[in-house]
Symmetry: D2
Subunit: 148 residues, 4 copies
């Protein structure tokens, strides 16, 4: 991709009390739920959500990697940013940056989700269509940045 330092889609999510576990910090699975929410905003923006509904061709999650940088507690609000970091023929990667919102924002985690474009009708991977590629390129170029 041509615009590695932009994060075209983001959302801001307040920490809920119940997000914390018995260690008194936000449980590590919640960071991944936050990334998923940002991913779904991206899929809504680029047309992958509609593609799934209309044709049965949609993304499926193959792998996830997360680095935890600092604990988060109730009271904080987390900004979740995402971008498409790789587009293959039938797969793509998305990167995430999670930051605690404040006067001096601190990054709290980063992650990558590896996705496959999947034809749920044939139960096989499917090519990422030229239309989707174009819309994604435009989003990454900042020409089309619908967000929350």
């Amino acid at each position: 991709m041509a615009h590695p330092q932009t994060w075209p889609i983001h959302c801001e999510l307040p920490v809920q009390w119940g997000d914390m576990d018995a260690l008194g910090h936000v449980n590590h699975t919640i960071y991944i739920k936050w990334m998923e929410t940002a991913r779904m905003h991206y899929f809504d923006a680029c047309g992958l959500s509609d593609s799934y509904k209309d044709t049965g061709i949609g993304p499926i999650l193959a792998a996830i990697e997360v680095d935890y940088l600092r604990p988060v507690v109730f009271g904080e609000t987390i900004r979740v940013e995402t971008r498409m970091s790789r587009m293959g023929r039938t797969s793509f990667d998305m990167e995430y940056r999670l930051t605690s919102v404040s006067d001096s924002p601190q990054q709290v985690a980063k992650g990558v989700a590896k996705c496959v474009v999947y034809d749920y009708n044939t139960a096989k991977p499917a090519p990422l269509s030229d239309t989707l590629r174009s819309v994604i390129e435009a989003i990454e170029a900042g020409e089309n940045t619908p967000s929350d």
Copy 2:
């Protein structure tokens, strides 16, 4: 119903570490998730799950009430029992009893879910069919107690 002291459907669920919240006990929403799992086993057993898939007529949750009797922690296994406590024309109530499994079992919570039979095609309540009523009566009478 004619058999108030039987609990025809049950399941046993081990507490997971992530079920605990920042107070070091299982979060109160998890008890309600456990009840839902028992409810779905009941719906599978009586035909309400199939009814929803086949005809679009299925249960919808209208209200829930839970009494918390003692805290639960990681390491315990919870037995969740349920029974149909009331059948109306288009609605029904289900009761739940949650017990920590051990040599001296202790009840940890009880609850009631109030459900409506809903026709998702017309977006209106629908009568509980005679067929479903018969199956539920048989389950409650202990004549048909599929469980996990």
Copy 3:
């Protein structure tokens, strides 16, 4: 309480994609997690959170009741409002009103949490102190309405 129609403490929470269950709507336990978040904001505001940390005397949840009024989906933001509806000697009730934020807001649920003031040192209920009563009365009277 003297001010039954005010909701002194509130927060606004965006629905996350993962809040939805296999029926395509927000799972019913999530509404209760939202109520808990508003409750914790209230406890922070009135001093019950500090009381628990400083003296080991804090609230414990005894029961919850929720009425579900309409389904909620990803994309909505929920306003959660709470107020103290009853103060007894060693217990209190809190009411919740959940509304989907929009130009024409719609209430999606209401609920009540029944709490006991609990001395974790002696494992017994404890009186609600006069200090806490005064602060809560002031919050309910709108004299002191810290919120999200």
Copy 4:
């Protein structure tokens, strides 16, 4: 480690209905919650849980990687196996294998958690003690395999 093909600690967890998301499969964060439960069983078995309680020196999660191999639905039971795959001076890696229990078991996911031994008193990484190393070696050698 000397015993790469053994999985000394495991647990079996029934899928709950509420584990499924709007796509009708178990949400990907639930796999990670299952891994955490197995990890805590391991920490209980090897003494890391007690170390944290007694001395304030305990594990902290630095990173997680998960490969999703096939979808899981309500009705399945998942066997979660874990082993120590690397021990460094102040850090260690744990591997996970998740299998759907049946007459012909199928692996549904695999993962790695990278942990740091952390002294919560000084807020710095701490060495993995010789005592812990010995117990972990024994567990991995199958000499001491407490499990649920």
